[in-house]
Structure formats: C-alpha cells, structure tokens
Amino acid sequence: MLVLNNIRKNYPLGSVEVEVLKGVNLKVDTGELLSIMGQSGCGKSTLMNIMGLLDKPTSGFFSINDQEITYKDDDHLSGLRNNHIGFVFQQYFLLSKLTALENVGVPLVYRGESSGNIKKRSMEFLEKVGMAERADHKPNQLSGGQQQRVAIARALVGEPALILADEPTGALDTRVGEEIMELFKKVNKEEGITIIIITHDPGIAEQCSRYVNMKDGKILES
C-alpha cells in the first residue's frame, strides 16, 4: 500500500544543506505490522513525517494505495491525513482542555460528522482500548499508559488504512509498553490495519511481523 522510491530530504542548516534522507526505498503491504528501527538522528522521524504527509520530500516518488502524492494542495493532504492516516506520538499529544472522549473525536470533527455520531463512535473506540470508564477524564488525570491508549483510540476512530506510531512506548515503563504493543498487535490482527512503528528499541522491533533497519538516512536491506 505504501511505495517509497529514492526519497531524499535535505534541510538547510545555516548556509549548508544537510542531507537527512539519502534515497529511501521501501514497500509496505496492506495489513503489515512493520517496525522501522534506528538510532536517533538516523532520519527515521523525518521519514515518518513524510509518510504521514506532514512533510514533503526534496525528491523521490511516494504513493499511497497506488496514488502518487503531489503536495500541491495543502487541503487535499489534510483530507488524506484525516481519512487514511492515524498518528500515535511518543508524547501522546492529547489536547489538554478536552476530555478523553472529546480527544478521540477530534479527527471526526474535521470530517464534519454530527456531534451525536462523533460521541457514539468515540465511545466505541474508547471501549476498544479499555478506557471507556475514563471517558470524562482530562489528559492530566490519566497516567502515561492511559493517555497512550486514548491516543490510539484517536488514531483508530477514523478507521484509517495506516497507523504511524513514533516511539509509542518511549515514554512508558516496560510493562505498560508491552501492554501498548499488545494493543497494536491486536488492532493489526483484528482490524487488518497497516501499522508502522518507529523505534530505537530492538525489543519492540522483534515483536513486529517485519522490521527494517535505518542508518544514516538509508534503509538497510534486511
């Protein structure tokens, strides 16, 4: 479902250009649970931003579901993110003023769905991640693991084709991290959603159906 061909990304740093991605080639099939593993600074976050349509490559070919991404129309990219991609961040990034339930509903709000429908769907997905009884809590009333569960519900609520998770267990202790990984595996298996997890932890990578190593702006063939 994802095809990346010779993706390059340069950042200007003062007067020089720094090459962060030096020609990434990657194919991801529908339903995969893929891990991209690498040390910090290898360019894996930049790659995730590109795959998440938050950033555009300097050059290269990128397609989702056989559709080439063109980057011309910002609203179109927003629409693609909204409809096809779910994000899970290391720092959860829940909106602090909203309750767990409202946080889950945000992607649907931007789809223009009715508030009754949004509430119903959000609750459904909170149940799925085991957070239904905390629906009315604000993020600061939840533990890290609980916040990440809510964030996963938010990523799932729009029924995306792809979930991008950037160090999803990085801020959690090992036991809670394992629970989160179990949740990803369950979602991948039961819903058939393609999941890409970015991590520096080989322990996480080994739990995925496939993993690739990234070093120095390139994906090493494994």
């Binding site: 931003n49 998440g52 938050l54 950033d55 910002d74 609203d75 927003s78 629409g79 993110r81 909204n82 409809n83 994000f87 961040f89 990034f93 909106l95 003023k97 909203l98 945000v106 992607p107 709000v109 931007y110 789809r111 223009g112 508030s115 938010r154 729009g158």
Partner: protein, 394 residues
C-alpha cells in the same frame, strides 16, 4: 468543523485562561460601554427635548432679528405687531418681547438669577404660562410699573415675606420701583433659551420708555392649527419688507427647530462615536495581543490538529471565532454597563428611561467586527504554521 463546535472550543479556551480573557476585554468593554452609554443618553435627552417641545405646541413660530436700528421707520414697533395679526387671519397671536439689561433688586438684595423681560398681554398664552397668584399684565398696563414674577423668583421672595402675599411687594429695577401684581406657576418652556422661572416680566412699553435703545427683536407667533408654516413665514417676511424695508428677519417653524435639534444631536453622536472608536481600537489591539500570545502558546495544539486532519481554514476559523467571542464578551459587558449608565443618568435627570435598540445592535455589531478585524492577523499566523514545526515546539 461547524461554527457551533468552534464556538464551544472558544468558550472552553477562553475559560481556561480566565484572567487573561478578563484583562483583554476591559478595553472593549470600556469602548462599547461608552458608545452605548452615550448613544442611549443622547436618545433619552432627544426624546425629552422633543416631549417638551410638543407640549409647547407645534403651532408657534419664532421670529428673531439681529441688527440694531436707530431710526423708527426700520424698527418693529408694537403697533406693527398688532397690525400684523390683523393683516392675516392665519396669525392668531403675536407676542413680542424684549430682554432688558438691568439688575433688579428686592429689599436691597440682588437675585442669584433673574432676567428682565418687556412683554405684552399675549405673552402668557403664546408661551403657555399659568398664573399662580394675582394676575398677568394686560394691554391696559402700558407704561405701568407693574411686574409679574416667574416661579423661582416668587419662591425667593416668599422666603422674605414669610407668609404674606407677594402681591403688592416692590422690586427695584434701575431707579424705578415696580409693584408685583402676579406670579407664575412652574414652567418647563425652554423655547426662549431663557428659564422663564427666573423671569421678571414687565410691560414692553415701559421698558422701551426707560431705555430708548431697546427695540423689538424677538417675537413668538401663534398660527392656526391647519396653517402651512412655510406659507405664513413667507407672508410675514413680505409684510415687514413692504412696511418697514426689513430684510434681516429669521422666522423658524417647529420643523426647523426639530431639524436643528436633530443636527445638534448628530454632532453630539458623531463626537461620542469618535471617542468610543478610539477606545475600541485600543481594545481591539488588546484582543490582537492576547490572540497572538494564545497562538504562540498553542502551537503544539495547532500541530496536533493539523496532523489529525484540520485544514488551514479550520485553524483560522477556530482562532477567528475565539477572538470574536472574546470581543463580543467584552461587548456584552459593555452594553450592560452602558445601559446601566444611561439608566442612572436618566434617573438623576428625572427623564424617562428608554433603551435604544439601535445602540444595542450597534454594540453587538461593532464588538464582533472588532473581534474579527483584530483577530484576523493572529488567526492567519496560526493557519500559516508548518505542522511539523508546530508539533516540535513546546
């Protein structure tokens, strides 16, 4: 994203930083408050003036002349006013009057306020005055040393006479003693631009005899109820032009006075509007400042929303609605404040309190416009943010 949802978000977010919200709306509140207050007070005063005016009757014309004339043939004489009434059936009464410049005293004491008039018998009916005690001056009192006093003057004198009647008391005007023959009830007539409650009325002929430089320069004329004012004004002007070669007459009808009053009111409103606008601009800059801070503080939120699918215009709308809500909150408080001020002013002046719907609509309209205008730049800044940089910021 619907406006309703945006509005809920806006309230949420403004409530979250209550203190800042409160400080931001102070400027708007003062601006809107002063505009509403002043427009309302203006309207109350206008209505009050109109009420008095209508009570005075709409069938009166006011004649005035500004030049002084040495020779009798160019002066308006008492007999001319009598002849004028006879000449035209539409003219019912003419009440010429003279303001003399002498200082009256009573038992050796000056009055705090007093204006000395020379009038004729018709003055009482044309100006809708009422006798409280005694009688008014008649046409048989020509050249007499009789005086009729206004309500305020009468009150002042009553304190001195302690229970005795005012009739027969003597006022000294210049070198002459005048005998009081009557007093007037309280009057709300303001058409002469002099408070008649502090008037001392004597016969016109007496004043002219005492001071040869005095001449008739003012007159109030009562016309028939169906009379066309413009026609009769033209006729009066022609009359004096033919008989006396007088060209500098100004005759005003009630319509003219209403127009003049409206014009003054307009100036007043314009001035207050200008003052209010300045405070609104200051308030608007306050709103802009708060919104810019809010955008900077919420960069991460903007990044998250963008990642979750918010379009630039969704973000812009969110902040625009927030600034408009903020400004309108200030506007609502300002409207309440302004109306309250107008109420207290009306209460104090014993005027009838009216709520100006126009002022309230204006308050809502202007405060939302200020919010939109001054919120536009911060909202655009928010919408322009790069999602990744927004996500990375803290």
């Amino acid at each position: 994203m619907s406006i309703k949802a945006d509005f809920k978000e806006a309230i949420n977010s403004l409530w979250y930083s209550k203190q800042r919200t409160l400080l931001a709306i102070v400027g708007i509140t003062i601006g809107i408050g002063s505009v509403i207050g002043m427009v309302s007070i203006g309207k109350i005063m206008q209505q009050e003036a109109m009420k008095q005016f209508l009570a005075m009757g709409t069938d009166r014309l006011t004649l005035s002349r500004f030049s002084q004339n040495r020779k009798d043939e160019h002066r308006i004489l008492l007999k001319d006013t009598i002849a004028l009434v006879r000449s035209n059936p539409e003219i019912k009464e003419a009440a010429p009057y003279i303001l003399a410049n002498k200082e009256p005293t009573y038992t050796g004491q000056k009055f705090e306020r007093a204006s000395l008039f020379g009038v004729t018998q018709s003055f009482i009916s044309v100006n809708e005055l009422k006798i409280e005690e005694g009688r008014f001056l008649s046409d048989l009192d020509r050249l007499s040393y009789y005086a009729v006093v206004g309500h305020g003057i009468a009150e002042f004198m009553r304190q001195k006479v302690a229970g005795e009647s005012l009739i027969g008391q003597q006022l000294k005007i210049g070198e002459r003693l005048f005998t009081v023959i009557g007093s007037l009830e309280h009057s709300t007539n303001q058409n002469l631009n002099v408070d008649l409650n502090y008037a001392i009325l004597t016969h016109l002929t007496t004043q002219i005899r005492l001071d040869k430089s005095l001449e008739i320069q003012n007159m109030r004329i009562r016309v028939g109820p169906q009379t066309k004012h413009n026609d009769v004004i033209e006729q009066i002007k022609n009359y004096f032009l033919e008989k006396k070669k007088i060209q500098d007459l100004e005759i005003k009808s009630p319509e003219d006075l209403i127009k003049q009053m409206d014009k003054q009111m307009e100036m007043f409103t314009l001035l207050l509007g200008a003052i209010g606008s300045i405070s609104l601009i200051v308030g608007g800059v306050g709103v802009m400042n708060v919104m810019l801070v809010s955008v900077t503080e919420r960069k991460k939120e903007i990044g998250v929303r963008r990642a979750l699918g918010a379009r630039r215009r969704n973000i812009k709308m969110q902040f625009l609605i927030e600034s408009t809500t903020l400004s309108m909150l200030g506007g609502i408080v300002g409207i309440v404040l302004g109306v309250a001020v107008a109420y207290f002013v009306a209460e104090h002046g014993q005027w009838e309190f009216v709520i100006s719907k126009f002022a309230i609509m204006l308050g809502f309209g202007v405060s939302s416009a200020v919010g939109m205008f001054f919120g536009f730049y911060p909202a655009s800044q928010a919408a322009k943010l790069d999602p990744i940089q927004a996500l990375r910021s803290d």
